[in-house]
Symmetry: C2
Subunit: 367 residues, 2 copies
């Protein structure tokens, strides 16, 4: 099943430290509730998981933002919690409440019972990847993704979102042996899951460590970063077409540990809005082993008037500075994104302003 040739490789080039004519841009959660057409499709699907598990619906909503905006990448429509759901924890989304597991992992017996799930239970995801690739017809590359081992563990132990992470940290501090066992299984499961997405056609993969930033210094390195590294070590380097598949790691609140992340075997580091891109570039973006940087405007900027959105875009681009421009070598590159997922309350016309501003200002920045 060869897919159509890629027409816009700006995103993939920037991931790999290669020069581009403009700074590529995509938005975390770009297929989402701020789009009325998404809301309409979700209503047809009946529920979030109804949407995510139906190949046609998942394909439809993945492509919706591309019909509105000249984004430089598509991202698989799915959820970060599909893997623990396949482990049998019983994922559901209550209206207005976020995800919830029917069977959270709270004791030793529950941890010991965990296994890397049969990937066949996640076939709906790989089928969606293939369907989206066909529908994209080479327009932009498709990003696959998963939650990080630690972020999955947070939801698996808490059973839902949390304000204090008391249950999962009680296990971490009280029974670190159990937590390590759980994280090792998660890491192997995430690696197998991302490799199957690559086999199905994902052209880049991203690990979302959405809750890495709630950990203490020391605990982050031991319980989150080490298991992200374990995932990365198992990932396929190339897709079925023989092209390299860039690996992106995004840690919300990970600013304090950028230097430690430099050692990760990935191509791109995603950053939230607390991090200054110029400083991050100096720390982890330059030289041998330097990473491309992805981010990092505050999604709330999209509530401001267009002129202010444009000014903030220009500032984030200027913070990073002029990207690498020599086509013969590799160097520091930037992929524009939000610092976190787009808000459901975002005016869709403001997203057009942002995407246009990124393309226009980043061309100007290259002189």
């Amino acid at each position: 099943m060869p897919y159509a040739p890629l027409l816009n490789d700006t995103f993939l080039r920037a991931c790999l430290g290669q020069a581009t004519d403009h700074t590529p841009v995509w938005l975390m959660r770009q297929a989402g509730r701020y789009l009325p057409e998404y809301v309409a499709t979700r209503a047809k699907a009946g529920s979030f998981m109804g949407l995510a598990t139906n190949v046609d619906y998942a394909t439809e909503v993945t492509l919706q933002p591309l019909a509105r905006y000249p984004l430089d990448a598509a991202i698989l429509f799915s959820d970060i919690l599909t893997v623990p759901d396949a482990m049998g924890l019983g994922l559901s989304f209550e209206a207005g409440e976020g995800p919830r597991f029917a069977r959270p992992v709270r004791d030793e017996a529950a941890v010991r019972a965990l296994e890397v799930p049969d990937l066949d239970k996640l076939r709906y995801v790989f089928d969606a990847v293939a369907s989206i690739r066909r529908a994209l017809a080479g327009r932009v590359p498709l990003i696959g993704f998963s939650g990080s081992p630690w972020t999955l563990a947070c939801y698996m132990v808490e059973g839902a979102g949390s304000s204090d992470y008391r249950q999962v940290k009680t296990m971490l501090y009280g029974r670190p042996d159990l937590m390590h066992h759980l994280l090792a299984i998660n890491a192997d499961a995430v690696a197998a899951y991302l490799n199957a997405q690559i086999d199905a056609g994902a052209q880049a993969v991203m690990v979302f460590d959405s809750w890495g930033g709630v950990l203490a210094d020391g605990a982050f390195q031991e319980f989150s970063l080490a298991y992200t590294a374990r995932v990365l070590a198992q990932l396929k380097r190339d897709g079925a077409d023989g092209r390299p598949v860039p690996r992106i790691v995004f840690t919300k609140g990970g600013g304090p540990w950028l230097d430690a992340m430099r050692g990760l075997d990935c191509d791109v580091l995603g950053l939230d809005w607390t991090v200054n891109l110029g400083r991050a570039r100096a720390l982890v973006g330059e030289g041998v082993g330097g990473k491309a940087l992805q981010g990092n405007i505050d999604p709330n900027v999209l509530f401001a008037p267009p002129a202010r959105i444009e000014a903030e875009v220009a500032r984030v681009l200027a913070d990073f500075g002029t990207p690498h421009r020599d086509r013969a070598t590799r160097g520091p590159t930037h992929i524009f994104n939000l610092g976190h997922g787009i808000s459901q309350f975002t005016p869709p016309e403001h997203v057009a302003v942002l995407v246009d501003a990124v393309h226009r200002h980043s061309r100007a920045l290259r002189g």
Copy 2:
């Protein structure tokens, strides 16, 4: 009204960079729901504000943790939102919901109507400070406090806690002129409020920038740090007894901006658990203008078994390293604390383990 002489000045000395025999320790929210005696007093008071506005109850709960643990400081029992309440916004605490303002500040008219409140409306706080000083009888020093201008603004505009700070950031990005006006009033009100606490007998004051860490790089410096600096510039340097009153600034999530905080005219920086104390000491703790550091163990460590609590305490102390030991000069010092408020679910006997471990290990660390 001269108060009794201070018997334990370990905390005040450490705040000022002076050598001490052990590392002083107190805990954010140490008078709180994890103590059954606190729950009993609150039940008598009927509500949180009933507790905070009654001088006898406020005195009683402030001293409760000192009866259990050899803590090195007391902190006024109050709330960070008393100032906007005195501005007329109508503070209440719904059961299990956190604070809520009846009249949030959402438009230009509401911002323009704000004024520095008549301090007489906050007399209950200053009366509590005086009452607590008398009840302490010099046992340990008393810390006064306020929310930071930005943190107050978050609650004033959102009207309650928030997961995305959409309202307050919409004003910040969309109407920065209004936000600056609001923050200037907050800063002047907070300064007057803290000065009145100092006049009443507070021996140190702390500014809680609980929500500084939700701001983007650049916005933090402009909308939070600058107004904390405006507060600090107006604070009295000495108490009625002529002793210096140390100024502490705590920014939850402020790790990315430690270097910018070095310029603050304060004595102590409070740190959350994401920050490595050794690195923070190297950045802001050494040399002329160096700050004492306060923090920063994860409150969830208190759910672990005693041996693990002790090991984590030893690790945090070791991260800071040996404090300044020359009694003739000033140098890097550490005040042990949590990285955020103590959880209501904390077993009280675990707090005893932590306080004892801090005292014991920090004596050993001094050789």
